[in-house]
């Protein structure tokens, strides 16, 4: 009996805690700093993990039960084509600044990750797993596999990067006095992939479209270039 009911309960757990977190986020919307830190992407995973540890459930069982959400993540990724299509006239007029920002942004993400990891005394294995951190999870896993990184570690790092970027990004933009939704969106997409894009759509449709563009392009360019950098550095 337990085998039948547990998966449903574990999927319900995600929805239940997410609704709770979403409500908590909503009632604090007027306070930017607090609401950023209370983003459902911060509170939900912490609360869900706490519950799993408390009732002694293995992460693999939870993951299995939540497979429908992993699948829908793919469907939602396809859906990003619609805002991209609707906002394309904004994007086309900015081809040159966007491509330059993309190229330098994607390179900086890898260079800063590798150099800071080195300063903190990371081993070569950790360095390799850390390198693709700004790329959307499925692409990062593919890259990690290609450069012999640790897939589990890479997945965790990528997700955590997204959350940090999505949570601190809006605060950073306020501090830097950046109010242009196109810049906010593109930077969130480059630095915080899908998680940043989810956050960008909360700002505006235009912000989300630029974020989708940044996410797609960063993934593609990093997938093509990073394996060569790694080979050059470690061989």
């Amino acid at each position: 009996m337990a085998e039948i009911i547990t998966p449903v309960l574990l999927l319900m757990l995600t929805f239940l805690i997410f609704s709770l977190a979403f409500w908590l986020y909503g009632i604090n919307k007027s306070r930017p700093v607090i609401s950023s830190l209370l983003h459902p992407l911060v509170t939900t995973p912490i609360l869900v993990s706490a519950v799993l540890l408390l009732i002694n459930i293995d992460y693999n069982d939870y993951r299995q039960a939540n497979q429908p959400l992993f699948f829908l993540l793919g469907t939602a990724t396809v859906a990003l084509a619609i805002p991209l299509h609707q906002q394309f006239h904004h994007i086309r007029s900015l081809t040159k600044p966007l491509l330059l920002t993309l190229f330098f942004g994607a390179s900086f993400a890898v260079i800063t990750a590798l150099s800071i990891a080195w300063v903190f005394g990371a081993t070569p294995e950790t360095l390799i797993s850390v390198a693709p951190k700004s790329v959307t999870t499925p692409i990062a896993l593919g890259i990690a596999e290609k450069i012999n990184g640790e897939p589990g570690l890479t997945a965790g790092i990528v997700v955590f990067t997204g959350v940090i970027g999505a949570v601190l990004g809006p605060l950073l933009f306020r501090w830097l006095n950046i109010s242009d939704d196109r810049i906010k969106g593109f930077v969130l997409g480059i630095c915080a992939h899908g998680v940043g894009t989810a956050r960008a759509f909360e700002v505006s449709g235009k912000c989300g479209a630029f974020s989708s563009l940044g996410l797609g392009l960063t993934g593609a360019i990093t997938a093509m270039i990073l394996p060569w950098i790694i080979i050059y550095l470690f061989k």
């Binding site: 929805f15 997410f18 939900t44 995973p45 912490i46 992460y59 993951r63 959400l69 829908l72 993540l73 793919g74 469907t75 939602a76 990724t77 396809v78 859906a79 084509a81 619609i82 805002p83 299509h85 609707q86 600044p97 920002t101 942004g105 900086f108 800063t112 990750a113 800071i116 990891a117 005394g121 081993t123 959307t136 999870t137 593919g142 640790e150 589990g152 570690l153 790092i157 997700v159 955590f160 990067t161 940090i164 970027g165 601190l168 990004g169 950073l172 830097l176 950046i178 196109r182 810049i183 930077v187 630095c191 915080a192 998680v195 989810a198 759509f201 797609g216 993934g219 593609a220 997938a223």
Partner: protein, 122 residues
């Protein structure tokens, strides 16, 4: 909306197939997104309301779909204990540094009319 969901699933399927058979390192949904985008750009017809609604619905709950993957971060067991500081440090610092540099660079590049704004140093 149902028709819209069908179109999204269709392109997800095509993307998965292309990704699988081409051997490209790009995941199926990303290929599906690109193909759907190209299709919409080339098609002369107006975007159907159903597809717009379906996409809007999926994107509105994008955060929810990331939850199971995010939970995984707390169950990473394969990081050697002496590497935790490096991992956390890299994520927080490099993400912040990259965001600041990228945002300032883009602001500078987009401020074309007055090209002498000294906001960014490379």
């Amino acid at each position: 909306m149902l028709k819209g969901l069908f179109v999204l699933l269709l392109f997800q399927g095509i993307g998965e197939a292309v990704s699988h058979y081409s051997g490209l390192p790009i995941p199926g949904p990303v290929i599906g997104m690109i193909l759907l985008f190209v299709y919409l750009q080339l098609s002369s017809r107006e975007l159907s309301i159903g597809l717009g609604d379906a996409a809007h619905f999926m994107i509105r709950w994008l955060s929810l779909m990331f939850v199971p993957a995010c939970v995984g971060f707390f169950f990473l067991t394969n990081i050697p204990t002496n590497q935790w500081l490096a991992v956390i440090g890299v994520i927080v610092l490099s993400t912040l540094v990259t965001m600041v540099i990228t945002a300032l660079l883009m602001k500078y590049l987009m401020a074309k009319p007055k090209p002498l704004t000294p906001e960014v140093e490379q």
